[in-house]
Protein backbone atom coordinates (compact mmCIF):
# COMPACT_ATOMS: atom_id res chain seq x y z
CA UNK A 1 0.00 0.00 0.00
CA UNK A 2 1.17 3.52 -0.78
CA UNK A 3 1.65 6.02 2.01
CA UNK A 4 1.72 9.80 1.69
CA UNK A 5 4.73 11.78 2.92
CA UNK A 6 2.62 12.81 5.90
CA UNK A 7 2.00 9.29 7.20
CA UNK A 8 4.18 9.76 10.28
CA UNK A 9 2.32 12.96 11.17
CA UNK A 10 -0.98 11.06 11.08
CA UNK A 11 0.37 8.28 13.26
CA UNK A 12 1.48 10.88 15.77
CA UNK A 13 -2.08 12.29 15.81
CA UNK A 14 -3.48 8.83 16.54
CA UNK A 15 -5.16 8.31 13.18
CA UNK A 16 -7.08 5.16 12.33
CA UNK A 17 -6.10 4.13 8.81
CA UNK A 18 -8.02 2.54 5.99
CA UNK A 19 -7.12 1.32 2.53
CA UNK A 20 -8.40 3.70 -0.11
CA UNK A 21 -7.69 2.66 -3.70
CA UNK A 22 -4.19 1.45 -2.90
CA UNK A 23 -3.42 4.22 -0.39
CA UNK A 24 -3.18 3.83 3.36
CA UNK A 25 -5.10 6.94 4.43
CA UNK A 26 -6.43 8.29 7.75
CA UNK A 27 -10.16 7.49 8.06
CA UNK A 28 -10.54 9.33 11.37
CA UNK A 29 -8.54 10.79 14.24
CA UNK A 30 -10.79 12.05 17.06
CA UNK A 31 -14.06 10.74 15.57
CA UNK A 32 -16.00 11.52 12.42
CA UNK A 33 -18.69 13.66 14.06
CA UNK A 34 -16.24 15.75 16.08
CA UNK A 35 -14.04 16.27 13.01
CA UNK A 36 -17.03 17.13 10.86
CA UNK A 37 -18.26 19.76 13.31
CA UNK A 38 -14.76 21.22 13.71
CA UNK A 39 -14.74 22.01 9.98
CA UNK A 40 -18.30 23.40 10.08
CA UNK A 41 -17.55 25.68 13.06
CA UNK A 42 -13.78 26.31 13.04
CA UNK A 43 -11.28 24.58 10.78
CA UNK A 44 -9.86 21.23 9.77
CA UNK A 45 -6.71 20.02 8.03
CA UNK A 46 -6.82 17.15 5.52
CA UNK A 47 -4.03 15.20 3.86
CA UNK A 48 -5.30 14.63 0.33
CA UNK A 49 -1.99 13.70 -1.24
CA UNK A 50 -3.60 10.62 -2.75
CA UNK A 51 -5.29 12.89 -5.30
CA UNK A 52 -3.72 12.77 -8.76
CA UNK A 53 -1.94 15.65 -10.50
CA UNK A 54 -1.56 15.59 -14.26
CA UNK A 55 0.21 18.44 -16.06
CA UNK A 56 -0.64 19.33 -19.66
CA UNK A 57 1.74 21.78 -21.28
CA UNK A 58 2.69 22.95 -24.74
CA UNK A 59 1.50 25.21 -27.54
CA UNK A 60 -1.90 23.56 -27.76
CA UNK A 61 -2.43 22.90 -24.06
CA UNK A 62 -5.55 25.06 -23.98
CA UNK A 63 -7.01 23.46 -27.13
CA UNK A 64 -6.40 20.03 -25.67
CA UNK A 65 -8.00 20.85 -22.30
CA UNK A 66 -10.93 22.35 -24.18
CA UNK A 67 -11.34 19.11 -26.14
CA UNK A 68 -11.18 16.90 -23.01
CA UNK A 69 -13.50 18.89 -20.74
CA UNK A 70 -16.96 20.48 -21.05
CA UNK A 71 -16.27 23.64 -19.05
CA UNK A 72 -14.68 26.60 -20.82
CA UNK A 73 -10.99 26.68 -19.93
CA UNK A 74 -10.53 29.62 -22.31
CA UNK A 75 -12.41 31.77 -19.81
CA UNK A 76 -9.80 31.03 -17.15
CA UNK A 77 -7.23 33.69 -16.41
CA UNK A 78 -3.75 32.57 -15.43
CA UNK A 79 -3.86 31.75 -11.69
CA UNK A 80 -7.45 30.62 -11.72
CA UNK A 81 -8.99 27.17 -11.36
CA UNK A 82 -12.32 25.73 -12.41
CA UNK A 83 -14.36 22.60 -11.68
CA UNK A 84 -14.82 20.42 -14.72
CA UNK A 85 -14.90 16.83 -15.93
CA UNK A 86 -13.21 14.44 -18.28
CA UNK A 87 -16.08 13.30 -20.47
CA UNK A 88 -16.56 10.27 -22.67
CA UNK A 89 -18.00 10.63 -26.19
CA UNK A 90 -21.28 9.53 -24.55
CA UNK A 91 -21.26 12.59 -22.29
CA UNK A 92 -20.58 10.51 -19.18
CA UNK A 93 -17.76 10.86 -16.68
CA UNK A 94 -14.25 9.46 -17.00
CA UNK A 95 -13.68 11.60 -13.90
CA UNK A 96 -14.45 14.96 -12.35
CA UNK A 97 -11.57 17.30 -11.66
CA UNK A 98 -10.18 20.75 -11.04
CA UNK A 99 -8.41 22.49 -13.93
CA UNK A 100 -5.70 24.94 -12.82
CA UNK A 101 -4.38 27.45 -15.33
CA UNK A 102 -0.86 27.83 -13.93
CA UNK A 103 1.01 29.58 -16.71
CA UNK A 104 0.77 30.40 -20.38
CA UNK A 105 0.35 26.93 -21.95
CA UNK A 106 0.46 25.06 -18.63
CA UNK A 107 -2.57 23.40 -17.04
CA UNK A 108 -2.63 21.27 -13.91
CA UNK A 109 -5.48 18.76 -13.67
CA UNK A 110 -6.27 17.54 -10.17
CA UNK A 111 -8.06 14.21 -10.41
CA UNK A 112 -9.42 11.51 -8.12
CA UNK A 113 -6.96 9.05 -6.58
CA UNK A 114 -9.03 6.10 -7.76
CA UNK A 115 -8.86 7.34 -11.35
CA UNK A 116 -5.37 8.78 -11.69
CA UNK A 117 -3.95 6.00 -13.86
CA UNK A 118 -7.15 5.65 -15.90
CA UNK A 119 -7.30 9.41 -16.49
CA UNK A 120 -3.63 9.59 -17.48
CA UNK A 121 -4.12 6.80 -20.03
CA UNK A 122 -7.33 8.43 -21.26
CA UNK A 123 -5.60 11.75 -21.78
CA UNK A 124 -2.63 10.12 -23.55
CA UNK A 125 -4.97 8.18 -25.82
CA UNK A 126 -6.57 11.43 -27.03
CA UNK A 127 -3.49 13.58 -27.45
CA UNK A 128 -2.75 12.63 -31.05
CA UNK A 129 -2.83 15.74 -33.22
CA UNK A 130 -2.27 18.11 -30.28
CA UNK A 131 1.11 19.72 -29.71
CA UNK A 132 1.20 18.98 -25.98
CA UNK A 133 3.22 17.20 -23.32
CA UNK A 134 1.35 15.22 -20.66
CA UNK A 135 2.95 14.25 -17.37
CA UNK A 136 1.59 12.33 -14.40
CA UNK A 137 3.07 14.15 -11.40
CA UNK A 138 0.89 12.45 -8.79
CA UNK A 139 3.76 10.78 -6.95
CA UNK A 140 5.60 14.10 -6.63
CA UNK A 141 2.88 16.26 -5.16
CA UNK A 142 1.76 16.45 -1.56
CA UNK A 143 -1.65 18.08 -1.19
CA UNK A 144 -3.27 19.30 2.01
CA UNK A 145 -6.62 21.04 2.40
CA UNK A 146 -7.25 23.58 5.14
CA UNK A 147 -10.99 24.11 5.38
CA UNK A 148 -13.39 26.08 7.55
CA UNK A 149 -14.26 29.66 8.43
CA UNK A 150 -10.99 30.12 10.39
CA UNK A 151 -8.81 28.74 7.58
CA UNK A 152 -7.55 32.10 6.33
CA UNK A 153 -6.65 33.25 9.87
CA UNK A 154 -4.60 30.11 10.43
CA UNK A 155 -2.84 30.22 7.06
CA UNK A 156 -2.11 33.96 6.79
CA UNK A 157 0.74 34.10 9.35
CA UNK A 158 2.45 31.25 7.49
CA UNK A 159 2.56 32.81 4.02
CA UNK A 160 3.37 36.08 2.27
CA UNK A 161 0.46 35.49 -0.13
CA UNK A 162 -2.31 38.00 0.59
CA UNK A 163 -5.12 35.54 1.27
CA UNK A 164 -7.78 38.25 1.50
CA UNK A 165 -7.07 39.15 -2.12
CA UNK A 166 -7.84 35.61 -3.25
CA UNK A 167 -11.37 35.14 -4.54
CA UNK A 168 -12.96 31.70 -4.90
CA UNK A 169 -10.91 29.44 -7.20
CA UNK A 170 -7.96 31.86 -7.20
CA UNK A 171 -4.51 30.27 -7.40
CA UNK A 172 -1.25 31.75 -6.06
CA UNK A 173 2.37 30.60 -5.91
CA UNK A 174 4.37 31.38 -2.81
CA UNK A 175 5.80 29.87 0.32
CA UNK A 176 3.87 28.27 3.15
CA UNK A 177 5.89 27.72 6.35
CA UNK A 178 9.00 28.32 4.27
CA UNK A 179 8.09 25.67 1.71
CA UNK A 180 7.35 26.50 -1.92
CA UNK A 181 3.73 25.78 -2.73
CA UNK A 182 0.70 26.41 -4.91
CA UNK A 183 -2.24 27.70 -2.89
CA UNK A 184 -5.81 27.77 -4.22
CA UNK A 185 -9.02 28.96 -2.62
CA UNK A 186 -10.82 25.72 -3.25
CA UNK A 187 -12.13 22.76 -1.29
CA UNK A 188 -14.50 19.86 -0.96
CA UNK A 189 -16.40 20.64 2.24
CA UNK A 190 -18.87 23.45 1.55
CA UNK A 191 -16.75 25.83 3.65
CA UNK A 192 -14.26 28.52 2.78
CA UNK A 193 -10.73 27.19 2.64
CA UNK A 194 -7.54 26.50 0.78
CA UNK A 195 -5.82 23.63 -0.94
CA UNK A 196 -2.04 23.63 -0.82
CA UNK A 197 0.18 21.70 -3.24
CA UNK A 198 3.89 21.22 -2.87
CA UNK A 199 6.66 19.29 -4.61
CA UNK A 200 8.89 19.66 -1.55
CA UNK A 201 10.35 16.48 -0.04
CA UNK A 202 9.54 17.97 3.39
CA UNK A 203 5.84 18.74 3.23
CA UNK A 204 5.45 17.91 6.94
CA UNK A 205 6.77 21.42 7.60
CA UNK A 206 3.53 22.76 6.14
CA UNK A 207 1.38 20.22 8.00
CA UNK A 208 3.10 20.81 11.35
CA UNK A 209 3.06 24.61 11.04
CA UNK A 210 -0.67 24.65 10.24
CA UNK A 211 -1.44 22.25 13.12
CA UNK A 212 0.57 24.48 15.48
CA UNK A 213 -0.96 27.75 14.23
CA UNK A 214 -4.41 26.16 14.37
CA UNK A 215 -4.25 25.34 18.06
CA UNK A 216 -5.81 28.65 19.04
CA UNK A 217 -8.60 28.12 16.51
CA UNK A 218 -9.67 24.60 17.55
CA UNK A 219 -8.26 23.16 14.32
CA UNK A 220 -8.45 19.36 14.07
CA UNK A 221 -6.87 16.93 11.62
CA UNK A 222 -9.65 15.40 9.49
CA UNK A 223 -9.84 11.93 7.98
CA UNK A 224 -11.57 10.55 4.90
CA UNK A 225 -14.66 9.71 6.98
CA UNK A 226 -15.56 13.33 7.70
CA UNK A 227 -14.33 14.38 4.26
CA UNK A 228 -17.11 12.21 2.85
CA UNK A 229 -19.87 13.46 5.19
CA UNK A 230 -18.80 17.09 4.66
CA UNK A 231 -18.81 16.86 0.87
CA UNK A 232 -22.14 15.00 0.88
CA UNK A 233 -23.85 17.71 2.97
CA UNK A 234 -22.48 20.25 0.48
CA UNK A 235 -23.66 17.99 -2.41
CA UNK A 236 -20.25 17.81 -4.04
CA UNK A 237 -20.09 14.78 -6.29
CA UNK A 238 -18.01 11.73 -5.41
CA UNK A 239 -16.75 9.81 -8.42
CA UNK A 240 -17.70 6.14 -8.24
CA UNK A 241 -20.72 6.91 -6.06
CA UNK A 242 -22.66 9.77 -7.64
CA UNK A 243 -21.07 10.02 -11.05
CA UNK A 244 -19.36 7.45 -13.26
CA UNK A 245 -19.12 6.24 -16.84
CA UNK A 246 -22.86 5.43 -16.86
CA UNK A 247 -24.13 8.86 -15.78
CA UNK A 248 -24.12 11.88 -18.06
CA UNK A 249 -23.13 15.36 -16.94
CA UNK A 250 -26.73 16.53 -17.42
CA UNK A 251 -28.20 13.65 -15.41
CA UNK A 252 -25.76 14.54 -12.62
CA UNK A 253 -27.30 18.01 -12.39
CA UNK A 254 -24.12 19.70 -13.60
CA UNK A 255 -25.63 21.57 -16.56
CA UNK A 256 -23.76 24.70 -15.43
CA UNK A 257 -20.36 23.26 -16.20
CA UNK A 258 -21.18 22.47 -19.83
CA UNK A 259 -20.37 25.36 -22.16
CA UNK A 260 -21.86 24.25 -25.48
CA UNK A 261 -20.87 27.47 -27.24
CA UNK A 262 -17.14 27.05 -26.62
CA UNK A 263 -16.77 24.58 -29.51
CA UNK A 264 -16.21 20.86 -29.78
CA UNK A 265 -15.38 18.63 -26.83
CA UNK A 266 -15.73 14.94 -26.09
CA UNK A 267 -19.40 14.17 -25.51
CA UNK A 268 -20.72 17.49 -26.82
CA UNK A 269 -22.96 15.97 -29.46
CA UNK A 270 -24.64 13.52 -27.10
CA UNK A 271 -25.05 16.10 -24.35
CA UNK A 272 -26.53 18.64 -26.76
CA UNK A 273 -29.03 16.06 -27.98
CA UNK A 274 -29.85 15.11 -24.41
CA UNK A 275 -30.34 18.77 -23.51
CA UNK A 276 -32.74 19.27 -26.42
CA UNK A 277 -34.70 16.05 -25.93
CA UNK A 278 -34.65 16.19 -22.16
CA UNK A 279 -33.15 13.75 -19.68
CA UNK A 280 -35.04 10.72 -18.44
CA UNK A 281 -33.49 10.54 -15.01
CA UNK A 282 -31.77 12.99 -12.75
CA UNK A 283 -29.77 12.99 -9.55
CA UNK A 284 -31.75 14.07 -6.49
CA UNK A 285 -30.97 14.72 -2.87
CA UNK A 286 -33.16 12.84 -0.41
CA UNK A 287 -33.71 12.54 3.26
CA UNK A 288 -35.10 9.51 4.98
CA UNK A 289 -38.48 10.08 6.63
CA UNK A 290 -38.53 6.75 8.45
CA UNK A 291 -35.85 5.59 10.84
CA UNK A 292 -32.50 4.21 9.78
CA UNK A 293 -29.64 5.22 7.56
CA UNK A 294 -29.72 4.84 3.79
CA UNK A 295 -26.34 3.69 2.51
CA UNK A 296 -24.79 3.23 -0.94
CA UNK A 297 -26.37 0.44 -3.08
CA UNK A 298 -29.57 0.16 -1.04
CA UNK A 299 -32.45 -0.39 -3.51
CA UNK A 300 -34.69 2.59 -4.35
CA UNK A 301 -38.39 2.03 -5.10
CA UNK A 302 -41.02 4.19 -6.74
CA UNK A 303 -44.55 2.73 -6.71
CA UNK A 304 -43.21 -0.73 -5.79
CA UNK A 305 -40.82 -0.79 -8.71
CA UNK A 306 -37.08 -0.80 -8.18
CA UNK A 307 -35.79 2.17 -10.14
CA UNK A 308 -32.32 2.82 -8.75
CA UNK A 309 -29.86 2.36 -5.94
CA UNK A 310 -28.68 4.85 -3.35
CA UNK A 311 -25.47 6.42 -4.70
CA UNK A 312 -24.15 8.31 -1.67
CA UNK A 313 -25.91 7.88 1.66
CA UNK A 314 -24.92 8.69 5.21
CA UNK A 315 -25.94 10.09 8.52
CA UNK A 316 -25.51 13.87 8.33
CA UNK A 317 -23.66 15.07 11.43
CA UNK A 318 -24.78 18.68 10.91
CA UNK A 319 -28.46 18.01 10.13
CA UNK A 320 -28.87 14.88 12.27
CA UNK A 321 -30.69 13.12 9.45
CA UNK A 322 -30.10 10.30 7.03
CA UNK A 323 -29.34 12.00 3.71
CA UNK A 324 -28.21 10.82 0.33
CA UNK A 325 -28.20 11.04 -3.44
CA UNK A 326 -29.84 8.80 -6.03
CA UNK A 327 -31.05 8.97 -9.62
CA UNK A 328 -34.84 9.03 -10.07
CA UNK A 329 -36.99 8.96 -13.22
CA UNK A 330 -37.46 12.62 -14.18
CA UNK A 331 -41.19 12.60 -13.30
CA UNK A 332 -40.34 11.83 -9.66
CA UNK A 333 -37.63 14.42 -9.13
CA UNK A 334 -39.76 17.28 -7.85
CA UNK A 335 -38.98 18.50 -4.33
CA UNK A 336 -41.23 16.75 -1.82
CA UNK A 337 -41.84 13.63 -3.91
CA UNK A 338 -41.95 10.57 -1.68
CA UNK A 339 -40.38 7.23 -2.54
CA UNK A 340 -38.95 4.26 -0.65
CA UNK A 341 -35.52 2.88 0.16
CA UNK A 342 -35.12 -0.75 1.14
CA UNK A 343 -33.12 -1.13 4.34
CA UNK A 344 -32.51 -4.71 5.47
CA UNK A 345 -35.60 -5.96 3.67
CA UNK A 346 -37.92 -3.18 4.82
CA UNK A 347 -39.15 -0.31 2.64
CA UNK A 348 -38.49 2.96 4.45
CA UNK A 349 -40.03 6.24 3.28
CA UNK A 350 -37.81 8.96 1.86
CA UNK A 351 -38.46 12.27 0.12
CA UNK A 352 -36.75 14.47 -2.43
CA UNK A 353 -35.28 17.58 -0.78
CA UNK A 354 -33.46 20.67 -2.12
CA UNK A 355 -29.69 20.50 -2.49
CA UNK A 356 -27.17 21.34 -1.27
CA UNK A 357 -28.28 19.86 2.04
CA UNK A 358 -25.99 22.37 3.75
CA UNK A 359 -25.07 25.91 2.70
CA UNK A 360 -22.59 27.92 4.71
CA UNK A 361 -24.64 31.14 4.37
CA UNK A 362 -27.39 29.58 6.44
CA UNK A 363 -25.13 29.44 9.45
CA UNK A 364 -25.04 32.14 12.12
Amino acid sequence: MKRTRLYAAHEKEGAKFVEFFGWEMPIEYSGIIQEHMAVRHHAGLFDVSHMGEIVISGNQALDFVQYLTPNNAARLDVNKAQYSALTTPQGTFVDDLLVYYLDENVFLLVVNAANTDKDFQWILSHKQGFDVDVQNKSENYTQVALQGSEAHKILQPLTEIELNDMSGFAVERGSVAGVEAIVSRTGYTGEDGFEIYTLSPNPEKIWDAIMEEGKTYSLLPIGLGARDTLRLEATLMLYGNDIDESTTVLEAGLRWLIKFKKGDFLGREVLLKQKEEGIRRKIVGFELIGRGIARPHYPVFVDDEKVAEVRSGSFSPFLHKSIGLTYLPIEYTEIGTEFAIEIRGKRIKAKVVPTPFYKKEEKQ
Binding site: I27, I32, I33, I293, F315
Partner: protein
Protein backbone atom coordinates in the same frame (compact mmCIF):
# COMPACT_ATOMS: atom_id res chain seq x y z
CA UNK B 1 -11.63 -1.65 31.83
CA UNK B 2 -13.63 -4.87 31.41
CA UNK B 3 -15.74 -5.65 34.52
CA UNK B 4 -14.87 -8.98 36.17
CA UNK B 5 -18.48 -9.96 36.78
CA UNK B 6 -19.42 -9.82 33.05
CA UNK B 7 -19.27 -12.53 30.42
CA UNK B 8 -17.92 -11.71 26.93
CA UNK B 9 -18.28 -13.04 23.38
CA UNK B 10 -15.99 -13.13 20.37
CA UNK B 11 -18.46 -10.78 18.67
CA UNK B 12 -17.64 -8.22 21.38
CA UNK B 13 -20.88 -8.35 23.34
CA UNK B 14 -20.95 -8.39 27.11
CA UNK B 15 -23.48 -10.13 29.39
CA UNK B 16 -24.23 -9.24 32.99
CA UNK B 17 -26.47 -11.65 34.87
CA UNK B 18 -28.94 -11.02 37.66
CA UNK B 19 -30.66 -14.29 38.56
CA UNK B 20 -32.20 -15.57 35.32
CA UNK B 21 -32.02 -12.15 33.68
CA UNK B 22 -29.13 -10.99 31.52
CA UNK B 23 -28.29 -7.45 30.43
CA UNK B 24 -26.47 -7.32 27.11
CA UNK B 25 -24.39 -4.61 25.43
CA UNK B 26 -21.37 -4.20 23.21
CA UNK B 27 -17.88 -3.85 24.63
CA UNK B 28 -15.68 -0.79 24.78
CA UNK B 29 -13.47 -2.40 22.13
CA UNK B 30 -16.50 -2.77 19.84
CA UNK B 31 -17.68 0.82 20.24
CA UNK B 32 -14.18 2.09 19.49
CA UNK B 33 -14.04 -0.02 16.35
CA UNK B 34 -17.42 1.27 15.20
CA UNK B 35 -16.79 4.94 15.88
CA UNK B 36 -19.65 7.39 16.46
CA UNK B 37 -22.87 5.39 16.89
CA UNK B 38 -25.80 7.22 15.29
CA UNK B 39 -28.58 4.62 15.19
CA UNK B 40 -29.48 1.43 17.04
CA UNK B 41 -32.18 -0.83 15.64
CA UNK B 42 -33.58 -2.63 18.67
CA UNK B 43 -35.46 -5.94 18.60
CA UNK B 44 -39.08 -6.32 19.75
CA UNK B 45 -39.67 -7.18 23.38
CA UNK B 46 -41.02 -10.70 23.58
CA UNK B 47 -38.92 -12.02 20.69
CA UNK B 48 -37.35 -15.43 21.23
CA UNK B 49 -33.68 -15.62 20.43
CA UNK B 50 -31.35 -18.48 19.72
CA UNK B 51 -27.69 -18.33 20.66
CA UNK B 52 -25.78 -16.16 18.14
CA UNK B 53 -28.91 -14.99 16.35
CA UNK B 54 -28.85 -11.47 14.90
CA UNK B 55 -31.11 -9.42 17.16
CA UNK B 56 -30.47 -5.87 16.07
CA UNK B 57 -28.20 -3.49 14.23
CA UNK B 58 -25.83 -0.76 15.31
CA UNK B 59 -24.97 1.93 12.81
CA UNK B 60 -22.07 4.32 13.13
CA UNK B 61 -21.45 7.11 10.64
CA UNK B 62 -19.37 4.76 8.52
CA UNK B 63 -20.45 1.22 9.32
CA UNK B 64 -23.41 -1.09 9.91
CA UNK B 65 -22.94 -3.99 12.25
CA UNK B 66 -25.16 -6.77 13.54
CA UNK B 67 -25.73 -7.33 17.23
CA UNK B 68 -25.75 -11.05 17.98
CA UNK B 69 -27.54 -12.66 20.86
CA UNK B 70 -24.90 -13.99 23.27
CA UNK B 71 -27.38 -16.44 24.80
CA UNK B 72 -30.76 -18.03 24.03
CA UNK B 73 -33.86 -16.61 25.64
CA UNK B 74 -36.64 -14.06 25.45
CA UNK B 75 -36.15 -10.32 25.10
CA UNK B 76 -37.81 -8.76 28.14
CA UNK B 77 -36.67 -5.17 27.76
CA UNK B 78 -34.83 -2.95 25.29
CA UNK B 79 -32.95 0.27 26.02
CA UNK B 80 -35.39 2.83 24.61
CA UNK B 81 -33.02 5.65 25.54
CA UNK B 82 -30.85 4.63 22.61
CA UNK B 83 -33.59 5.84 20.23
CA UNK B 84 -32.82 9.43 21.17
CA UNK B 85 -29.28 9.03 22.45
CA UNK B 86 -27.45 6.34 20.48
CA UNK B 87 -24.17 7.97 21.55
CA UNK B 88 -24.62 6.30 24.98
CA UNK B 89 -23.14 3.21 23.34
CA UNK B 90 -19.89 5.16 22.83
CA UNK B 91 -19.97 7.12 26.04
CA UNK B 92 -20.89 4.36 28.45
CA UNK B 93 -20.81 1.01 26.64
CA UNK B 94 -20.73 -1.17 29.76
CA UNK B 95 -23.49 0.65 31.63
CA UNK B 96 -26.10 3.14 30.32
CA UNK B 97 -25.28 2.08 26.76
CA UNK B 98 -26.75 -1.40 27.37
CA UNK B 99 -28.92 -2.73 24.56
CA UNK B 100 -31.33 -5.47 25.69
CA UNK B 101 -32.34 -7.58 28.68
CA UNK B 102 -32.90 -11.26 28.06
CA UNK B 103 -34.63 -13.92 30.17
CA UNK B 104 -32.04 -16.68 30.08
CA UNK B 105 -33.30 -19.99 28.73
CA UNK B 106 -30.32 -22.16 29.61
CA UNK B 107 -27.72 -20.96 32.09
CA UNK B 108 -25.28 -23.60 30.85
CA UNK B 109 -24.76 -21.48 27.73
CA UNK B 110 -22.94 -18.93 29.87
CA UNK B 111 -20.10 -21.44 30.21
CA UNK B 112 -19.36 -20.97 26.49
CA UNK B 113 -18.62 -17.28 27.06
CA UNK B 114 -15.35 -15.66 28.10
CA UNK B 115 -14.39 -14.13 31.43
CA UNK B 116 -12.93 -10.60 31.54
CA UNK B 117 -9.35 -11.89 31.61
CA UNK B 118 -10.05 -14.32 28.76
CA UNK B 119 -11.61 -11.53 26.73
CA UNK B 120 -8.64 -9.25 27.34
CA UNK B 121 -6.33 -12.01 26.14
CA UNK B 122 -8.58 -12.50 23.12
CA UNK B 123 -8.25 -8.79 22.31
CA UNK B 124 -4.47 -8.92 22.61
CA UNK B 125 -4.52 -11.73 20.07
CA UNK B 126 -6.52 -9.55 17.67
CA UNK B 127 -4.09 -6.71 17.88
CA UNK B 128 -1.07 -8.82 16.95
Amino acid sequence: MYPDNFYYTKDHEWVKTDGDKATVGITDFAQKQLGDVVYVELPQSGSQLEFHQSMGVIESVKAVSDIFSPISGEIIETNEELNDSPELVNENPHDSGWIVKIKIKDEKELEKLMSASEYEKFLEGLEE
